[in-house]
Each structure stands twice: as C-alpha cells, then as structure tokens.
Symmetry: C3
Subunit: 413 residues, 3 copies
C-alpha cells in the first residue's frame, strides 16, 4: 500500500537532528502516516471513553478513526466489550448510529445477529458446513481501568498492567471510577498527529496564544513545567520553592506528590506529575474557586494539579474537583481529532453542584486556539521553504517525544 521504501525511511530517520523539528515528510507524507498509524496509534493502549457513557446493559457508542469503527457496549454482568463494527458475513457496518442501546446486535443488511459478547446468535440459510462458533465478531482488545475504557487495536498488545503501572498512583488518586461525564467535545484539527502532539508537549506558545491558560497558570509554573515533566528546560527558582513547600504540606495530608518520566528508552512514552495550582487556586477555573464537589481520595482540597500522559495519545489533567481527559485521534496525514471529556464526581448535579461553563471554560478556549495555531503551523510546514528549525529551552519535552518517536519507528522497520 505504501510506496516509500523502508531503506529510504531508515535513512531519513537517521538524518534528523536533535534539537530541531523534523523534516517535512514526517508531517505530510501519506505513506509515513500509514506506517505511523500501524506503529503507534493502532499499537497502543488508548483511553477512548468513560464507563458513564454507557451506564445500562446494551448501551453502546462507536469509536471511529479513519476507516475503523469499534462498537463499545455494556453487556450483562456489567462487562464492557469492544467489537469491530464489521459483519462477518459480507462486511457491512452493524451499528450505523453513533450511540444507542441494543440487546442484540443485528446487522441491518442480512439480519445476521450477534449477542452482546460478540458471539453469533443467528444466521439464516447458511450451508450445512457453516460453524457459528467461527464467525463471532472480531474483538478489539479492551481494558476498563478506574472507569476509563482503554482499547488496543494490536494483535499483540502490550501488557496493560505493565503499561499503566508507573502512572497508576497518580490516576487512582482521583478515583475516576466514581466519576461521570459532565461534557464531551471533539475539535477536528487539520494538522498531522505529530504536529498536534508537539503543540501539547510545550507551553512555549502559551504566553502568545493562550490568555485564558495564562490567567490560571502563572508564568513561574509555565517556566518550570512548560517544557514537560521530566525536566524544566528553564529553571524557576521561585517555582521550585513553591513546589517544595507545597509538597511538604500535601505529604503531611497523606496525599501523593512527585514526578514520573521515562528514564530510559522503551516502547512507552509516559509521564505524570503533581504540582500546585497558581495563586492559591483550588481548581482550574477563572477565579480559582472550587468548581464542583471534591473527588477522589483527597482528605481535603490541596490545590494540586495532576497531569498524566499514559501514552502520547492521552493526557489526563486533574484538579481536586474535576478532570479533563484528552484523546488525540489521527484521522489522516494532516487531520487529527482532539477529543475532550470532562469528568466530575458521579453524584454531582449540574446547575446545583457545578456550573458547566465555568468548568470547561479554560480548556475549551485553549483547545479552540490550539486548533488554529496547529493548522497555521501545518500550512507553513507544507511549503517547499519549510526546513527544520531550532527548538527553545521550553521545548525539551517535544524534543524528547521526537527522539522517542524516531527510535520507536526505527525499531519497527
């Protein structure tokens, strides 16, 4: 299907310079996109939705990317299944609505029917040698963890426990299995997935592009953590002091603190950290006041901000009373969907316990602005005159991601 030779790609990978952006092809070429898709997105555990999207038996939603469509459905005993939305008979889509409730999955074409667990229920007029057991729906790997639904398209998926281990304490602190979806929004972005992720790997652009973000997160925090968790490319002594004080205070409450990043190369690219919100804020809101009832294992509000990247395709940004979850879905060589899910405590009532607009304000505004700057970045990168440019001290995390991407790609070819 792809016409680029792997030798050519290898050579190209080896030409990339540390400290600089990648060559144009990596952000534009359809063949490299196809290889990327199989090496990364379709080979990773991806969080694609919260269990509260499908509370009842038979509730389902579709997860769709490119030509792929997966039915995520709740079965009896509350088990959740993921099936490829492709009838085993002639290949028709089985569910054609984006979500709904089905007790039996009946293909609308010839009425082959499947049980919620994917096994075949009935198929009319098949030849005598037809063995129903062989024709259940193709399963997609699925794991529900802390109320988060992860899927993995690979035939040989990484071990989920190994994958999640280093970030698990950070995630579990927020007890997302007792949360519910407050809002969900998709931001279709005309940029290559790596350009899109690059944007989320650095806060060097926050000051020029994100007044709302900068209102909530102050300059010292951005200096210190705007280049990524693993190192502050730029040091802020004032933020270091603030972090140290906060860590001491919070540890005395028994709350988790700390930073995780990958010390050496592996198939994973994970990070996690807890930091204090700026200016004594208690929540990631305009005025810093609480946005919703306390969630998670916190004894009291500690004004902290938990940022977890279990893979390049997800970010979980969590304060004491709500969580903003990002999923980055590559759709084409220069098209990526950015999907945001906001979670609150499962018992919180909108309008009474929380004001939705207040809660989504910062990340909604910020993601709309990101869409625009990523798209303008992509346009420039398509020019014959684009050449790799030098990265700033606040783009260390982006540089690490790029290095990881290239090494991981080399391993696969």
């Amino acid at each position: 299907m792809t016409t680029i030779s792997l030798d050519k790609l290898k050579e190209l990978v080896e030409l990339q310079r540390p400290g600089y952006t990648l060559d144009q092809q990596f952000y534009t070429d359809p063949d490299i996109f196809e290889i990327d898709l199989n090496t990364f997105f379709l080979n990773h555990w991806i969080f694609i939705g919260h269990i509260s999207r499908i509370p009842n038996i038979g509730d389902y939603f579709l997860f769709e990317t490119g030509n792929e469509s997966v039915i995520v459905i709740r079965g009896t005993n509350n088990q959740i299944y993921a099936h490829h939305n492709v009838c085993r008979h002639r290949g028709s889509r089985i569910c054609v609505e984006n979500n709904g409730n089905k007790k039996v999955l009946v293909c609308p074409y010839h009425a082959w029917s499947y049980n919620i667990d994917g096994s075949i229920k009935s198929a009319r007029l098949m030849p005598e040698n037809f063995n129903k057991d062989e024709w259940g729906l193709h399963k997609c790997n699925l794991r529900v963890y802390e109320g988060l639904i992860f899927i993995n398209f690979s035939d040989h998926p990484d071990d989920f426990n190994e994958f999640i281990k280093p970030t698990s304490l950070f995630i579990e602190l927020h007890d997302l299995s007792n949360a519910k979806i407050a809002h969900r929004e998709v931001y279709p972005t005309y940029g290559n997935w790596k350009l899109t992720l690059d944007n989320f790997h650095e806060c060097y652009h926050c000051q020029p592009s994100h007044p709302e973000y900068c209102q909530v997160h102050d300059a010292e925090y951005i200096l210190s953590f705007g280049g990524g968790s693993q190192s502050s490319g730029v040091e802020s002594k004032s933020f270091n002091k603030r972090l140290e004080d906060w860590n001491n205070k919070v540890q005395s409450l028994g709350h988790l603190t700390g930073v995780y990043y990958e010390k050496e190369f592996s198939q994973y690219s994970r990070s996690a950290e807890r930091t204090p919100l700026s200016g004594g804020r208690l929540s990631e809101t305009k005025d810093g006041k609480p946005a919703a009832p306390l969630m998670g294992k916190f004894k009291e509000r500690d004004g902290g901000y938990t940022s977890v990247g279990p893979s390049p395709f997800n970010s979980l940004l969590m304060c004491n009373d709500f969580a903003t979850l990002f999923t980055f879905i590559p759709k084409g060589p220069i098209e990526t969907d950015v999907e945001l899910t906001w979670l609150v405590h499962k018992d919180a009532v909108e309008g009474k316990d929380y004001d939705l607009q207040n809660m989504v304000w910062m990340w909604d505004k910020t993601t709309i602005a990101d869409k625009k700057i990523i798209e303008d970045n992509q346009k420039g990168v398509l020019s014959k005159k684009y050449k790799p440019g030098p990265l700033s001290k606040m783009e260390k995390s982006l540089d690490s991601f790029k290095t990881w991407y290239l090494r991981r790609l080399l391993l696969s070819i």
Copy 2:
C-alpha cells in the same frame, strides 16, 4: 497509470475462495477499479436509454461516466448516433447541456461544426493540408434493439446479435419499441460497482431491508428465486408447484415461459426468466391491480414477471403493463450510479391511463434502501478488520457472478 503489477493481481485472483466474498482490494483499490472499468464496463454492450428520450430529429442526451461523455443523437431518417463528446480540434466538450436539440453540432470553443452523423461540416482557417474527412467525431459503437439504445466503448466490441440472442425472446415479448419513458431517476451510490451488483444479485437481504418488495413478492418466490435464476439455492416446493401450474396456463395462451442462464463460462454473464407474480397479482404494484394499459405481445394479462439480465450492468424487470430498466454505471472505486427507467405503452397517458406514483413506488423505495445498505456495506469493507465472509444458500447467484468476474479478469491480464 495503474501501479499494481499484473502478476500480483493474478496471484490475488487465485487466492479468492469459492463461497466467500472477495478480498478487500477488489472493492476498494483504485488500480483494480481502472482495470475493471476497461475489462468490464467499457468492454460490454450497455443499455443506456430508450429511444423515446430523443423522439425528434436533432434531439440528444449525454451519457456520462467518469471522464467519458457520449452524445446520443437522432439523425435524419431517424437513425441514432453515438459520438464521443470531444472536439477533434482541441478536445473541448461540444455539448455542455445534458440534453437538448441540435441540427448541427457546433463546438462552443472555436466553432468547428459537425453534422449529426459526426462528419465535419466546417472548420475555419485550417492549413491547406487539412483533410476534413479525417476529423469527424470519434464514434461510439451503438445498436438500437427493441427501442433500447445499447452502446459499447470497446474498439473490438462483441457481436451484438450473439450477445443478445439467448435473452431476445424474453425481451421481445414486451415490445419495448412501442413503449415510452414514464419516469427516469438516478440513485448515486457510494459503493464499488461489484458491491452494488452483489446487492442486486441476491434477495437474502430483502426480508430485513425491503418491506415494500416483500409486500409484492412473497416469501416462497424469494426462497426460490432470491438466489438467482440459474438455481434456487434454496428450494421451495410450494413455489415449484405454483410455477409449474402457471407455466401450463400461460403456455396455453401461447405466451413465453422458462429460464435461461449461462451453462458454461463465456465472456457473457446473462440470465432471463419468467415467473408468476405473487398472490395472483397482475402487476408489480402495492395492490397487484393493473398499473397501466397492456404492453407487448400478450394476448391477455398473464400475471407474469419477466426478469432479464443481458449483462451485469443491466436488469430489465417487466410485468404485463410496465417495465423497470436498471443501468449500473461505475463512477469511481467506491461510487456507482444506479439509473432506473420506467417504461409504459407509448400511447398510455399519465393521470388517465396510469398513476406514476403507483408504478414507481416499489422500485423507488427499494432502490433508496439499497443505496443505504450498499453504502454501509462499503464502509465496513474499508476496515482493516474486514475479511471475506461465507455466503448463504440464497447468495448462489452472487457467488456465480464473483466466479465469472474472476475468470473473466484472469483472461484479460
């Protein structure tokens, strides 16, 4: 133009299994589509319109598919011509409206003019060595048969008489040369041409998808003929009896009966049959009552249904008083136009002799539903998880078509 090697295609053809659908590439690959187009659609006699579309001298319509456009025009002596709509000077389209009346074909660009027979009439200011006789319009093979206009894009078209022979008695019974168009409709369908034809090769989907069709054609008929003319994959003893009784009755009237299908492989894929309509119906309408004045060579209404497939790209479905003619036009790898033409007796008057809505009701509803299910089928087939699936007993005709397609394709490469 195509990048798939013919060896690769040969190998792929040989990997296909009888009794199963084809591999994904056959329904999606642009190169295979290009080869298909040249091997099949552009190499077959195709019915593209009825003579009553162009009753007067100079009347024309365009037949368009992909980048091709053909002018079908009535000349003096009522002869009908088909010319490629490409000026021999600089290549401009000559007719830019879909239909109209022209006594001379004048290219709107530089005013080269052609007679209706395609010969050049005038070209200004050409060099002295310009020989008008060499620059007439490129002709497209054309044959008018029983009022049906067939064209063939091939440079070496099959002999028309040999092509039409086995189905001719079935067609001639309905005397379509004394018919007129009651209605015409195009249903653009986002599916590969073979997926589109597959849908019309089986009635396994009729029960789940076509309530209107099933209201007119009962379950026993569908069981018996839903898998195609040449064999009923599923036998219905009750329908066999009904058919036998009807054959006897109708033969006594001197009307044609019987079934034709290809007994052995050839370049053709043709079929024809006559069966009784269900429940004593006299016409293919909701209530089974006559829809229009009697057509054809019938002495009286015999309640029969004549189904003729002169090629994979046409179906002629005819009852005693009207005919529904299908043309399947491949437009792109996953785009096919389905064009329907309804014919009635030439003297029948709409509103007085027939109610158009009553007549088009079943096939209009059914074709709209087919468009939807073909498109959902195509979407699933595009998934990486699509794999060939097993065919039912009622998809025998589809399996035969598939086998014929593969053998015919092998011969051409």
Copy 3:
C-alpha cells in the same frame, strides 16, 4: 515525489507533433504538473502585484499558490521585501490575513518576531548557541520595476535586466510607476495552466466566444494579430495598411511603435507589440471613448493598444488611459487562477475621472467566458478519446508556445 521516470517523459516529449495539441498527460498528469511547476512557474520572474497595493510602511499582502505563501511588505525607505511566510522556528504561517499592516512580523505561535527586512528581532528562551543571524526569514527574489512587483522563486533566478530588456520600452511608455490599482479580481479556472495559457495565445475562439471583445476589436485586427505577435498566421491586407498608416502617424508624435518576438529559442518566451485600436477608438471600452485621464509618456491620445507578454505567466494589455494586467497562477494539475489588475493614473478619482464598470467591462466579461470554455476544454481533454488535434492558422502563437514549452522542458530533465 513524482513517479514518472524522466526517460519516459523525454520519450513522451519527443513524440509530440508540431501543428497539433499535446498528448493528454501534459494537461492532466500530477507528476508532469509538479515538474512543470518547478521548471516554469517557480523558475520565472512573475508580476504579482502593483506597488499601490501597499502604499504605507508596513503594508503587506500575501501571494499564495499551492502550498507556497509569500509576504510582500513595504519597509522603511519605501523598500519592498518578499519573505516566505514560514516561521524559521517550527514552520508556522506568520501572517494569516491576506493583507494588512505590520511594523514587526510576529509569529502568532511562539512570538518569534522579525523586522520588516526579514531579520530576526527576538526569540525567547533559545539555547546559548543560537545565532539570530542565521534564522532570518527565507527571502524570495523580488524586483520592483515601473511600479510592478516581480518575484522569482528560483534559487538561481535569471538576471532581471536581461529578462525585461526587450519589452522594457513598451512597458515604460505607460509609466506604470505613476499608476494605481482601480480594481483587482481573481477568476479561479478548473483547467491545467497550459490549457489556460493556450486559450490566451489565440483569438481563433474570439468570434464564437467573445461578443464583447469582438465589439471592441474588429475582425481585421483579429485576423492579423489573433494568432500572436510574431506572425499573423493569417494575413489581413486591410489591417496591414491600417497599421502602416497608424505607425507613421504615431511615430511623428514621437510615440513608440513596433513588434517584438523571440527570433530564436532561449529560456524566455516574451512578446510585445503596439497596434491601433479598431474603428478609431481611443480606449478599450464599449464605445471607444476615453475611459480615464491620459497615462504614461504620451503627448496626446494616439488610439494605440500595447500588448506585452514578459513571460507566459503575465500579459500587460495597455491603452492610453488604463492598463489590464494578467497573472496566471498554476494551482494544481487542473486548476489555475487568472488574476486581473486594472491600473489607472494615480491621480484619477473613481466616479469623477473614470467609471470603473466601463473600464473593466470587456476583460471581465471576456475572462468569465474564458473560464467556461477552458473548463469545457479540460473536461474533454480528460476523456480516453481525446487525441491531439490539428491547429488552425490562427493558432500559430499557441503552437510556438507549445514548441518552446517542450524544448524548455527537455533542457531541464
């Protein structure tokens, strides 16, 4: 990027016949388009706008074609610069509005800022070894000549003076540096750039397609100059006489007369001529009456028409009181923008000194009609049945252009 082999292209070039249009691929193939773009459009001096579009310091406009975007901006000392609109940091577009005023060019992404001359002004938080001097904006070759802004994308641009020399007297006669833009309009045309230029290289189509043009320019002029400057494929004795008389009269006024065309093959394809307008007209208007105040070096109105083609991508059509400037911008294999700029004397006031509708009437109507006939030409040329056709005596200039194109292409491969 392209998949056509250069040997294959060479072979194809050599198969083309003089006196006939080109083979289909030259008007449709994406690979040939890519080669064309680099060999011709991106390797020529192109007029892209008049200085009056950016009268003040900091005024800019974008020139965009395909994936390329160039910022044309007026600096201090009234110098005009052209910079590629690609930030040297991560490649973002810098200017995202089509025109405006900027005293500093600040990238909206990370706020790298550039001076109007393209040198870097500031870049925050860069590593210690970052040398600002190396990271100014990529310059595009630019030359302002007679108020006309020319750019050249090549890394080794032709010498501008050599390029402009043979047509310079014709251009300078009209003193365009003392003009201003009266109107600007883009006509997006779905045709290959060569089909689009072919249309502007012959007036064989004027009679059937352009009633407005033929109202202003009479049949004798078209016969004589409709095939191009360098030769009248068709001779008009009556026009020859008229031209001779007019030349004598005008020379006595001290005004320029004459014809320039390329006598032998070079990298250039240039032409220029002065002719009398038809019927004693003083301007290229419906009634032939003056349209605006006299421009240029004329002592009095001489009723002349100056037509200059400095390259295939520009035509400057100038009468005594206004000028119509054409820029042909290849956008894709079958997409070309035709941009028209009308100039008048810089002091002329719309509504008082000139009626805009009267002035733009002929070329606006004619270009709209050209768009239509080029698009119908392209449709026909896409057909499998298109074959090169014979050119008329009035298409000599088109034939010369075609010959030049093929020779120039051969040189580059």
